[in-house]
């Protein structure tokens, strides 16, 4: 690994180094302190002049290489450590669980007879994220297209910059806004939905309404909107002008040009952006801890107070958790980790396969 370029670089430098060192033996100690003007300053003489240049240089090279290798390995170590430590802390709690971890609807791991199940939380996590993306993705793609291909260039650039900034706003701010400001229009809307469309199970129930899956999902959607927009806008802007002009020269309308040239070209990037948004939504903690009603139970009712997710539950239940309680929360974190991992790997696989098609082409 890495042998070929490494060695060839050495071979090239080694040659000159040997001849030079005959002229200035004192150079040998100066490795690593050479100034950029003169690679081999003759004044140092720290090495005493006896050592062989090759081995010394090789030493610095090898040391640096080893350092970078260690840093690279650290990533693997961290990932492994995450898995190991989470499992180590989760297993005792899972052993102590007196109910089925997958199917039990409830979370009381602090009882003398610990009872907790992940089912409702995982369901809430997936439901709220899926809803959020369902809302955010079409809107985000619309805005991205507007900014890249409809808006006047100056306006598009300025607004694009603003979207980038919004993408950096911390989620706790969106959560706070969702709870303090957005919840009341959502409650009104929920009441209206319940009045007129209560016969649809999604909008049924007797209230109270407001701190619901719908509020959580909407806040999540608004939160991931700038992220998805910002990434897809960048992708759309990268479409080669040549391809856009080719479509226009065939007599395409603007929309047809977007369909033939821009969207297909950007598809891997769009998928990546959506998956990133999904990852953020699945793992989002604080915004949901502030907006959801926090109940346990699997329900498709979108507007009644309720809903919970793995991450929000960790934030809420952490304060009064005892040792088993913490272990139970870590176990739920492990499940969340697995879900995001699956989403991530699927996305990578899709992107790599797509990229192969376009790149093998190039």
């Amino acid at each position: 690994m890495g042998e070929t370029p490494h060695r060839s670089a050495d071979a090239g430098t080694g040659g000159t180094r040997v001849t030079q060192s005959h002229e200035w033996p004192a150079v040998l100690g100066a490795c690593g302190r050479g100034t950029s003007q003169h690679p081999f300053p003759g004044r140092a003489g720290l090495g005493g002049g006896g050592a062989l240049p090759r081995s010394r240089k090789f030493g610095a090279e090898r040391a640096f290489r080893g350092l970078t290798l260690a840093a690279g390995t650290a990533v693997l170590v961290i990932i492994a450590a995450i898995a190991i430590f989470l499992v180590a802390k989760a297993v005792p709690a899972l052993r102590a669980n007196t109910e089925n971890f997958w199917s039990y609807e409830g979370w009381s791991p602090n009882d003398p007879q610990p009872k907790f199940g992940i089912g409702t939380l995982a369901f809430g996590t997936v439901l709220s994220s899926a809803l959020a993306l369902l809302i955010a993705v079409p809107v985000a793609l619309g805005i991205a297209l507007y900014l890249s291909h409809y808006a006047p260039r100056r306006l598009g650039t300025a607004l694009g910059f603003l979207v980038d900034l919004l993408a950096a706003v911390p989620s706790v701010v969106f959560g706070l806004w969702g709870r303090d400001v957005f919840s009341s229009p959502v409650r009104d809307f929920s009441v209206w939905l319940n009045q007129h469309f209560g016969w649809i199970p999604l909008f049924g129930g007797d209230g109270p309404f407001g701190a619901s899956i719908m509020l959580g999902a909407l806040v999540l959607a608004i939160m991931v909107l700038p992220i998805i927009t910002s990434l897809s806008r960048e992708v759309f802007l990268q479409t080669p002008t040549a391809n856009e002009e080719a479509a226009l020269a065939l007599g395409a309308t603007r929309w047809e040009m977007l369909r033939t040239a821009v969207l297909p070209y950007g598809r891997p990037g769009i998928i990546a952006a959506v998956m990133l948004g999904l990852g953020r939504a699945l793992g989002e903690t604080i915004a949901l801890a502030l907006t959801l009603g926090i109940t346990f139970g699997i329900s498709f009712n979108l507007i009644q107070n309720g809903g919970n997710t793995i991450a929000a539950n960790i934030a809420n239940a952490f304060g009064e958790a005892n040792e088993t309680g913490r272990g139970a929360l870590i176990a739920s974190g492990l499940v969340l980790f697995t879900i995001t991992l699956i989403v991530n790997i699927t996305a990578r696989a899709i992107i790599y396969r797509r990229r192969e098609f376009t790149e093998s082409a190039a």
């Binding site: 006047p152 002009e245 020269a249 395409a252 033939t260 093998s360």
Partner: protein, 258 residues
Amino acid sequence: MAKRVEASNVTAYYGGFKAIENINLTVEPKTVTALIGPSGCGKSTFLRSINRMHEVLPGARVEGSLTIDDQDIYDRDVDVTAVRRMIGMVFQRPNPFPTMSIFENVVAGLKLNGVRKKSILDEAAEKALRSANLWDEVKDRLGKPGAGLSGGQQQRLCIARTIAVEPQVVLMDEPCSALDPISTLAIEDLMFQLKDKFTIIIVTHNMQQAARVSDRTAFFSIEKTGDPGRLIEYDNTQKIFSNPSVKKTEDYITGRFG
């Protein structure tokens, strides 16, 4: 299948910059017309204003009148997409759609026009590819990415894509400048065959190419950098290259400037 293009007093701008001024020129049906001249003289700009691709760039606009068989393409009621369907364009660098296969590339224009039937698409694709002298090379791999072809093949693919919609006029903007000599020859041969059916206008930097392929040649030039390009001389290719009537044309042809 081929139409006359007539430009009168065409002036084109990029924002505040005037790129060409008062171009008057008539291109007869079923001929090859070459536009030559030094870099920056506006020949590509003029070519792009013929199918209204010039205005795609922000701030770009065209004044004057350009007619195709007596229909003014810059008329307010004219549908831009119809103009571009009638006047196809081949670009300097081959630009097949990278996400599409060879077949999809060729029929892209037809699909835009709502042709969905597989049999019609198949037939049209074969016809266009044969006309572009590409059929024999790609008939076994129509499903492969169009971008996987060599540069010359890609350019012929783009030509096939352009002629698949059966336009009246084909514009070519230095179609061979990114290609090797053999591919260039193949494209020049192709132009020769195509002029039976289409009116062809080609921008080229290569004077031998202009002499080889074109019936008529228009020489564009500028006074100095920043000035708008003007049409200096427009005549039969033979005349331009053997006995030009303007001194400046002669200087350019003989390599004294440009």
